[in-house]
């Protein structure tokens, strides 16, 4: 069974926050059979089919006895049974699957760690579902999964996902849906193929014999005709029969009572429940009305609502009499949903105005007991916003508005909080919601207001201030203000001492988010080492759903630092680690800042895998307000690099010119923009402009110095180029992406002076440095001089297989001819040359092209030569092919 534990495989991460939530396990509990429960063998026998067919649906109206029927049947199975009572918040796929995975764990049949777990409400990764199905399928036993109250899950998306898992899990999964309404699965298909067991309302209805037995177990002994009449009146409805038994056994003449009820025209449950309620002792009536506002309750919670101390015996007695309450084990009870609904109607009528008060009291009890989420739901339902906002902030749950399974739900909860609720905590919650939804202006203004309120407010509480520091750090990151981020981090450090240790432990995401924001702001300021300090702590921190997002973000930032340092290997490694985390936790790949994806695209561009890079860039679409300056700069620069690699130098120049709004400027963002501009100028054949933009920053950044040297070479200044290369900044020692380029500059310089031996030596070194990471771009950018060198001897060997086709791979084409090399030129085609190329692609002859463009044949030939040179080809067909590859057509 617990194969994963035995093999010692990594446990599955949990998306559900299990921290001391006493209500969590009540959702996984099979309701206990009450005394007097009647097992109906025709139904349990029918249900045994559920072990044969993949899908079973038990449907009927509220009070038809569905849940107890299935619970009783499931309790007797040898197969492991996973029980999940659906909750209205399970509409979101991420939440639904996270709880289902948690239910598997609670039932002692957890899935393997590789399945992962959703960490965002709205999303579950298809790979998680695939692996879940495979995990279930591979077991040597069938797992029975019961989803009770499945009518609460109306999302078509979840229905589709369930069907997917059911299909792929094969014999490993038997799904039982207990529901008031038909689910959105394609039931007709299951029916047609005989793969479905159905128990419907008509099956659930009690026969006269069953009813007689049930009633007598409740102490009501009626003659045959009375039973039959009662079954007619209630249409065999379980709740009706039960209520009738409870009502009639208290009266002197049950037969008479039943006769009156038969003749009466009232709605069954409505009437009978009122009767039964009225016969309870006043204290019990009061208790029942009060607990109707709770989904689940335990004696202590009930006492908090009744302000008495007798909840325990009263609940036990109600359960014993099979009246209204189900027992879930561990002292937790649930009102039957039907009765709860009717009781609430009575509560509102008999005690108008009491409901919010009760919910408020329940909220406070739940919060004290560590069930924060349920406390917030009750607090919001009571419109007690001061309490609800305070609870979020004081319990340090403010980070959960940004990350974790319930962030959207939490945020939605506060949507009804009106402007009349004032104070630091409500303002912090407002600011957090707005910042989480990338509404920077409003977020900052509420943050300022919270700061003012706190300044004038004597009772400063550490968690409030810590929450504010977190939002400050985020604001600093979004506005590119490293000093502000440092101040916030400093404040947070000092405050941590005043926050109870267990509170901090329960909310590692607060520290993780804060450090990520700090790291991002430091990165923006170019303080890579300091940034790495902050980010590494987050990237290596374990923890469940709420930690997944900060971990992804931290890894993405760390990847960017490596990339900026010219180390594509480690950059790719970290970016992929971030993507792996995103997959494991069903976060969208572009979640958080999407930085990891951008870095991955940049790495691919250096490898000249442009289509893949473009796909990544397109997927990492920008949010209108959401990007921090680091991400914005990275996005713009990477897009520019791609444009340049595609041969569109003009657009690359425009990208280099784009400015990123921020409080302070960023040295690397500026330098890399200059680098891009310089490379674009060079590609357009303007070495002087290229040199001008990059040389002023060449003294402190090696990559820029190398680019400046390249520009000098292009202008024919070999000596000057070597001067620059020989005096590279000492404190900037970047990785291969830069050193390969530097070595190629030296090679080119040697080549220009006719020293082919030295040139070969440097090219050899460049190839050795570049081939591990498949750094193709530097070689492709180097210029036409390189090609002939690569065609011979050791260099051909070193470049074969990654930079050039492996020698001998095409034996029929003979020795590699120059036109089979990848394009090594990025020199831009003129508009006229593009026109010629387009006509060429239409298979026109030179004469036709000349006629079409109203020029002479010789002019066309000149253009063709120029095109061939720029594309490094010798034939028309190759020119067209190359142009297509380079997206010039």
């Amino acid at each position: 069974m617990a194969a994963t534990a035995e093999t010692g495989a990594e446990p599955a991460p949990t998306g559900v926050d299990p921290t001391g939530d006493p209500l969590l396990r009540t959702r996984f509990a099979l309701p206990k059979r009450p005394a007097g429960f009647l097992r109906r063998t025709r139904l349990t026998g029918h249900l045994d089919q559920a072990l044969v067919t993949p899908l079973t649906m038990v449907n009927g109206p509220a009070g038809a006895g569905k849940t107890l029927l299935v619970a009783d049947w499931a309790a007797g199975l040898r197969e492991p049974v996973v029980w999940l009572t659906a909750d209205p918040s399970d509409q979101a796929p991420g939440i639904f699957w996270a709880y289902l995975l948690e239910a598997l764990r609670a039932a002692g049949v957890p899935v393997a760690g590789e399945v992962g777990c959703p960490a965002e409400a709205g999303r579950v990764d298809r790979r998680t579902l695939t692996r879940l199905a495979a995990d279930l399928e591979s077991r040597d036993h069938t797992t029975v999964v019961v989803l009770d109250e499945f009518d609460r899950v109306t999302s078509p998306e979840i229905a589709e996902q369930l069907q997917f898992v059911l299909h792929h899990a094969g014999h490993g999964l038997r799904l039982v849906l207990v529901t008031r309404t038909e689910p959105l699965l394609p039931l007709h298909r299951y029916r047609a193929s005989g793969e479905m067991t159905e128990i419907r309302d008509a099956d659930l209805a009690f026969t006269a014999e069953e009813a007689a037995e049930l009633l007598s177990r409740h102490g009501l002994h009626l003659n045959h005709s009375a039973v039959r009449a009662l079954v007619d009146r209630t249409q065999g409805w379980a709740a009706g029969l039960r209520l009738c038994a409870l009502a009639a056994r208290e009266v002197a003449d049950p037969h008479l009572y039943v006769k009156q009820f038969e003749a009466d025209h009232s709605a069954v449950a409505d009437f009978l429940l009122a009767e039964v309620l009225d016969r309870q002792p006043p204290a019990t009536q009061d208790l029942l009305l009060r607990i109707s506002v709770l989904d689940r309750c335990c004696p202590d919670l009930v006492n908090a609502l009744t302000l008495r101390t007798d909840a325990e015996p009263v609940l036990a007695a109600l359960h014993r009499e099979n009246a209204f309450v189900q027992y879930l084990g561990h002292s937790w009870y649930a009102l039957h949903p039907l009765f709860a609904e009717i009781l609430r109607a009575h509560l509102r009528e008999r005690r108008p105005g009491l409901e919010p008060e009760l919910r408020g009291r329940a909220a406070r009890w739940l919060r004290r007991s560590g069930a924060l989420h349920e406390a917030l739901v009750q607090g919001a339902a009571a419109d007690d916003w001061e309490f609800t906002a305070d609870a979020v902030v004081d319990d340090l749950a403010i980070g959960q508005l940004f990350t974790g399974l319930h962030s959207e739900e939490l945020s939605a909860l506060f949507a009804r909080m009106g402007p009349e609720t004032t104070g630091p905590a409500p303002d912090l919650v407002r600011a957090a919601r707005e910042l989480a939804h990338h509404d920077l202006d409003h977020g900052l203004s509420h943050l300022r207001r919270a700061g003012r309120d706190l300044a004038g407010n004597g009772r400063d509480r550490a968690p409030v201030l810590l929450g504010r520091a977190l939002l400050e750090a985020l604001a600093a990151r979004m506005t590119g203000s490293p000093d502000r981020a440092e101040r916030a981090a400093e404040e947070a450090r000092a405050l941590r001492q005043d926050v109870p240790a267990h509170v901090l432990e329960n909310h590692p995401e607060v520290t993780a988010l804060l450090l990520t924001h700090l790291g991002s702001a430091r990165l923006w300021a170019g303080r890579f080492d300091d940034a790495r300090d902050a980010l590494s702590a987050v990237a290596g921190h374990p923890g469940g759903a709420a930690m997944a997002l900060p971990r992804c973000e931290a890894l993405g930032h760390l990847a960017l630092i490596d990339h900026l340092n010219g180390r594509p290997g480690p950059a790719e490694h970290k970016a992929l680690a971030a993507a792996g985390q995103a997959e494991r936790y069903s976060l969208p790949p572009q979640s958080g800042s999407g930085l990891a994806q951008l870095v991955l695209a940049a790495v691919l561009i250096d490898r000249d895998e442009l289509d893949d890079a473009e796909a990544l860039l397109d997927a990492a679409v920008s949010r209108p307000l959401g990007d921090d300056p680091v991400t914005q700069a990275c996005r713009t620069l990477t897009r520019g690099r791609l444009l340049l690699a595609r041969g569109d130098a003009r657009a690359a120049l425009a990208a280099a010119d784009a400015s990123v709004p921020a409080a302070v400027s960023s040295p690397w963002a500026e330098d890399h923009a200059a680098l891009l501009a310089s490379a674009a100028h060079l590609a357009r054949g303007h070495p002087e402009s290229a040199r001008a933009v990059v040389e002023r920053v060449a003294h402190h950044r090696t990559a820029c110095a190398v680019e400046a040297a390249r520009a000098r070479l292009a202008a024919g200044q070999v000596e000057g180029a070597l001067d620059v290369i020989d005096s590279l900044p000492e404190d900037d020692r970047p990785g291969p992406a830069v050193t390969v380029r530097a070595t190629l500059v030296r090679a080119q310089a040697a080549h220009m002076t006719g020293d082919l031996v030295t040139a070969r030596r440097f090219v050899t070194r460049a190839l050795l440095d570049g081939r591990r990471g498949h750094l193709r771009r530097p070689f492709l950018e180097a210029g036409p001089w390189l090609r002939p060198l690569l065609s011979t001897g050791r260099l051909r060997e070193l470049s074969g297989g990654w930079l050039l086709p492996r020698p001998g791979r095409h034996p029929d084409t003979g020795p590699t001819t120059p036109d089979r090399h990848p394009a090594l030129a990025v020199e831009e085609l003129s508009a006229r040359e593009r026109d010629v190329l387009r006509l060429l692609a239409e298979m026109r002859s030179t004469e036709e092209i000349a006629a079409g463009l109203h020029v002479s044949v010789n002019t066309v030939k000149t253009h063709l030569k120029s095109i061939y040179r720029k594309l490094a080809v010798g034939r028309r067909s190759d020119a067209v092919r190359r142009a297509r590859e380079r997206r010039l057509l």
Binding site: R180, H265, A267, D270, I342, E349
Partner: protein, 65 residues
């Protein structure tokens, strides 16, 4: 849109208050609820409410304006 919904049995005044947006009248073993229904979502919400309260809907129709 105006709708008329018939449920089985006579509803108590207490339960009728769960549908404050609708008027109701008792007739021949049924309760007829009628009134404005804002949109489809409202309609389905009403049906859910009937179901949650254990009320059986026997007929439902849109009334001419």
């Amino acid at each position: 849109m105006r709708y008329e919904i018939r449920v089985a049995g006579h509803m108590s005044e207490t339960l009728a208050k769960v549908f404050p947006e609708l008027d109701h009248v008792l007739m021949s073993g049924q309760t007829v609820l009628y009134g404005p229904v804002v949109d489809e979502a409202h309609l389905h919400g009403l049906l859910n409410r009937f179901q949650a309260l254990g009320l059986r809907v026997v007929e439902m129709r849109q009334l001419p304006e």
